[in-house]
């Protein structure tokens, strides 16, 4: 290979340079699987470790620039696949791998690493039930941390769009997979709290493989979730996938859609009940007014009834909600709704004192009663009382000549 005839004796530097060239040309980029040992971070932020299997070992250097971006932070005992290139370090005559990325080796190893991390973080109390915060029952604003282009945000917005009492959404965009995802997700969680972007935070991602969901198993994300002063709902993946972020969150929703339901169900229920009052109470009032013919005994009923007609109509029709409802309703639904409104208005008009009087009834009051109260019971009168009789049109003064008290009392 090397010409030893012309230069039988190498200098150390020359030999090393030749080896370096040879090695680096042969292994410009490689992946190697092994177990990490003797892992030692340097003060400068580089991480040095040894990768070994049962019969051999190789040194590895993970420089600062890459150290923050690798998928798996090297730790002793970890079974990993390291990607990088071979480099010869001339001053020490050693060769090593300059590491580009470190990722867990194989699914078994991945699960194992996950289990280990789960135990470690659990031991710190990050998953403790006592630390779980209750969700606000009626959140007005929710911070959603997910990919702005993913299925999760679409699902969440779709659920909320179907509801009238849904909270406002502030989306904090992030990537959700890849080596930079964990830090981005964690940063957005911290921002959601620091800038108070919601009453509650949803971290979401659609379903995926274990590897796809790995960002939500990263320590930095788990810690950010656990430390978040706002309640956090995790809606990551589908039902069978549980991430460590799920365990650290205050409430775990099986899917992004389920997370959206959690923040809108109670408000929606409340809203429907509040609206229900108007419908119910309006019905009760108009029923009472319907039978008010015999109740013209109360002063001011005329004004009340007049007002009532207007108010009831307004109450049932005036709100934005009802207007929207009408707009939304299909044509065949529209008709009966309008009809109900008309009927409600009409029955009120029928019950108004004016309408009653027009049917031939009159209102009686004592002339000397400064409050002009209506008289509905002859027991309230004596002979020779001077009374005022109001008709649909015009009034008359009269004097009581004889009383016929009826023992039946009107309730």
């Amino acid at each position: 290979m090397f010409s030893s005839e012309r230069r039988p004796v190498w200098s150390v530097s020359e030999l090393t340079r030749a080896i370096k060239g040879q090695l680096e040309d042969t292994f410009p980029s490689l992946s190697v699987e092994g177990e990490i040992s003797n892992c030692r971070p340097s003060a400068a932020g580089h991480i040095y470790f040894t990768l070994k299997d049962s019969t051999a070992m190789i040194s590895a250097a993970l420089f600062r620039g890459k150290a923050s971006r690798v998928e798996e932070k090297p730790q002793d005992g970890m079974h990993v696949v390291v990607t990088g290139k071979i480099d010869v370090y001339a001053p020490r005559g050693s060769y090593q791998i300059i590491v580009d990325n470190v990722k867990p080796a194989g699914k078994g190893a991945l699960l194992e690493a996950l289990e280990k991390r789960k135990r470690a973080l659990g031991a710190e109390g990050l998953f403790d039930q006592e630390k779980k915060q209750p969700l606000p029952p009626y959140p007005r604003r929710v911070a959603v941390i997910t990919s702005p282009t993913g299925a999760a945000v679409r699902d969440i917005l779709q659920v909320l769009a179907r509801r009238s009492a849904a909270p406002r959404v502030t989306l904090l965009p992030t990537i959700v997979q890849g080596s930079e995802a964990p830090e981005k997700i964690a940063a957005q969680i911290r921002r959601a709290a620091a800038y108070n972007l919601g009453d509650v935070v949803i971290i979401a991602r659609g379903g995926g493989s274990l590897e796809d969901l790995m960002a939500f198993n990263e320590e930095v994300v788990v810690r950010a979730v656990a430390a978040c002063p706002l309640p956090v709902i995790s809606g990551v993946g589908h039902e069978i996938d549980i991430s460590l972020a799920d365990l650290a969150s205050d409430v775990r929703a099986a899917t992004p859609s389920a997370a959206a339901e959690l923040v809108s169900d109670r408000s929606e229920d409340l809203l429907l009940r509040a609206r229900g009052f108007r419908r119910e109470a309006a019905g009760l009032i108009s029923a009472r007014l319907d039978t008010a013919g015999h109740r013209l005994d109360k002063a001011g009923i005329r004004e009340l009834s007049h007002l009532a007609a207007g108010r009831l109509e307004e109450a049932m029709r005036g709100s934005d909600e009802a207007r929207r409802e009408l707009e939304r309703a299909a044509a065949e639904r529209l008709q009966p709704l309008r009809r109900r409104l008309e009927l409600a208005g009409r029955s009120l008009n029928d019950a108004s004192p004016k309408a009653v009087m027009a049917r031939g009834y009159a209102r009686v009051s004592l002339i000397n009663d400064p409050r002009g109260r209506s008289i509905s019971d002859s027991q309230h009168l004596k002979e020779n009382d001077e009374i005022k009789v109001e008709f649909a049109r015009g009034t008359a003064d009269a004097r009581i000549s004889k009383l016929h008290n009826d023992s039946k009392k009107e309730g």
Binding site: P173, R191, L271
Partner: protein, 73 residues
């Protein structure tokens, strides 16, 4: 936000009183008025936000020392 349940409870009490025929009609009307206002307030509070979706369009410092920029999504 806790007031919602209380308001709703009050609303349901009002409906109860309106139904009660021993409560004079004027009073029932007054209760009804009160209820309508309350129910509308509740409704406004619950749905009285703009239904826009916002997106955080910058990456302000995580300690809250900056300014969060929000734009329509």
């Amino acid at each position: 936000m806790k007031g919602f349940e209380e308001k709703l409870g009050h609303l349901e009490k009002l409906a109860e009183q309106i139904r009660d025929r021993d409560v004079p009609l004027e009073e029932a009307m007054a209760l009804f008025d009160e209820g309508v206002v309350l129910s509308k307030n509740l409704e406004e509070e619950l749905e009285g936000f703009e239904r826009k979706v916002e997106i955080l369009s910058n990456e302000p410092p995580q300690d809250g020392s900056g300014e969060a920029e929000l734009s329509p999504f």
